[in-house]
């Protein structure tokens, strides 16, 4: 029973961290993605290229740079965040945020350009227009959210580097799988892997259901 409690704790921590990271990425990524899609300002293309590059950032590289910032010897060392779940959330936001931003931009740019003008012409305020555009693009936006979540629930490099895989504190499903594998406990590793896949599937099933309900309207 003790082992099961520990697995429950690991699972809960994985979900907490990744869901929070995805949520924060949405908070940052939706507005920025909208700005990049609808705005016209110098450096826009360059910024968009950066965001698109960011989608392919290797998580372990992100982990390395975030760890170097959070170590005591690093610039943010005084915050004492290294080897805490907060550090993992930070690293995962850095990983997921470009994904959400890039896909938001692509989603909004795919809309009929006439729609913006039509909405403004009908008397919508800027904010109302943006909200309506989001509604129009809800299918790809939800897909972007799922992509963001997928990119962080499955990553191990950053969690390992900034979290340290510390038992009961920062051990998540992916890092636990690595540990069990390195100990040669393949059955445990497979069990954890199946658990991780199931949870990821369940979350995406829920989001897909919402996405497809939205499609039917």
């Amino acid at each position: 029973m003790q082992i099961d409690l520990e697995i429950f704790q690991i699972t809960v921590l994985s979900l907490e961290v990744s869901i929070l990271a995805t949520f924060l990425s949405l908070l940052l990524g939706l507005p920025l993605g909208t700005l990049l899609a609808l705005g016209r300002f110098p450096g826009r293309s360059f910024l968009l290229s950066l965001v698109n590059t960011g989608m392919g950032l290797p998580p372990v590289v992100v982990g390395l740079f975030v760890a170097m910032s959070l170590w005591r010897s690093g610039p943010l060392g005084d915050l004492n965040l290294i080897y805490t779940p907060t550090a993992i959330v930070i690293a995962q936001v850095v990983i997921a945020f470009p994904v959400v931003t890039g896909l938001t931009t692509a989603a909004l740019q795919a809309l009929d350009t006439g729609l913006q003008l039509q909405l403004l012409g009908l008397g919508a305020s800027r904010l109302q227009m943006i909200w309506l555009l989001w509604r129009e693009a809800r299918l790809p936006l939800l897909a972007g959210m799922m992509a963001g979540f997928g990119s962080v629930i499955s990553e191990v490099g950053a969690s390992m580097m900034v979290g340290g895989n510390i038992r009961y504190q920062t051990r998540v499903l992916t890092t636990a799988i690595v540990l069990e594998t390195s100990k040669g406990e393949f059955n445990n590793a497979i069990g954890l892997a199946v658990l991780l896949l199931t949870i990821t599937f369940l979350v995406n099933w829920g989001l897909t259901w919402i996405q497809q309900r939205a499609a039917k309207r």
Binding site: Q2, Q9, N80, R135, I166, Y168, T181, S182
Partner: protein, 308 residues
């Protein structure tokens, strides 16, 4: 659609809050070590420490053997410290100490440690325990090293036979010992990179798995081998040579170099691990499960006693 999105966010919000409420309660009392009795040694009624966070940098061998899963909860229970155990190779652990990213180190590469202390990065260095290294390999033993008395001779035979050998290749304590043995044999496979010499770059557990899968030889500490034996097809071929002694020291990171380190906590850990009650726990570790001692406590001895 507006109501659906709000519903989604609302649900997510409630879910996250509920989970964060759940999680602390779900942390189990850590008595995960199966057979070893965790003695409820007289709980010293210490006042809660001023700075309870302690970062212990140690080696993957110490972690993989399972000893820390017994010692760390015991230490936390008795003193109220909250220990973050970061298991990396000895090289990385010493580097962390050098940069002040850890408070206390538990490592086993005496030559590297001496260099480290000379650099002034450590304040106290105390002898803790030792175990021994063994050379393991496939039952078929293509290089014919079984029963060789000298580890250096065994290495020579492996090289002569060009038998596959897996090295840690990660500047860990085990790797340091392995390279020293090759040097004594007058060989340099790490430099010359013959095809039979493979560097895994990983911890001891993972390296043993690779050796087992590739029917290769490797140098390992006895504790990790025994802890992983059930999953391996490797036999002990060479053991008990004096050159195969694996000595552990605990080092406190020097607060004069890095004022931010938790020196009080580091000293508490160092003193605790050489305390006779703890040394007794170390001596008993693994006896129930593996029928032999995995670590031999040495706090009462000196470096000279162990040939260092």
């Amino acid at each position: 659609m507006k109501s659906r999105l709000s519903l989604l966010f609302g649900l997510l919000f409630i879910f996250v809050i509920a989970l964060s409420g759940c999680a602390p309660a779900a942390v189990p009392t850590p008595t995960a070590a199966p057979a070893t009795e965790v003695p409820t040694a007289a709980p010293t009624a210490n006042p809660a420490p001023a700075n309870p966070d302690l970062i212990l940098a140690t080696t993957t061998s110490t972690q993989d053997s399972g000893l820390l899963d017994v010692l760390v909860p015991l230490f936390e229970q008795q003193t109220g410290y909250k220990v973050k155990v970061v298991a990396v190779g000895t090289g990385a652990a010493l580097q962390m100490g050098q940069q002040g990213n850890a408070d206390v180190l538990l490592v086993h590469a005496p030559s590297s440690e001496v260099t480290y202390m000379k650099g002034g990065f450590g304040k106290d260095r105390l002898l803790v325990m030792h175990n021994d290294f063994i050379i393991v390999g496939p039952t078929t033993d293509p290089a014919g090293i079984k029963g060789t008395a000298s580890a250096v001779d065994a290495f020579k035979k492996i090289a002569t036979a060009s038998a596959p050998f897996i090295s840690r290749g990660d500047q860990s304590g085990t790797n340091t010992k392995e390279l020293a043995l090759w040097k004594s044999a007058g060989l340099d496979p790490a430099g010359q990179k013959p095809t039979w010499y493979v560097e895994s770059g990983q911890g001891m557990g993972a390296t043993l798995t690779i050796a087992s899968q590739k029917n290769a030889y490797t140098l390992t500490d006895r504790a990790t081998y025994l802890a992983n034996k059930a999953n391996l097809q490797l036999d002990i071929l060479v053991e008990k040579d004096t050159s195969l002694l694996n000595v552990y020291h605990v080092i406190t990171v020097n607060p004069d170099k890095w004022p931010k380190v938790n020196y009080v906590g580091a000293m508490a850990f160092a003193k605790w691990i050489i305390d006779p009650a703890t040394q007794d726990v170390i001596a008993k570790f693994g006896v129930d499960k593996y029928g032999q001692q995995l670590f031999i406590p040495d706090a009462t001895k000196t470096d000279a006693d162990l040939g260092l």
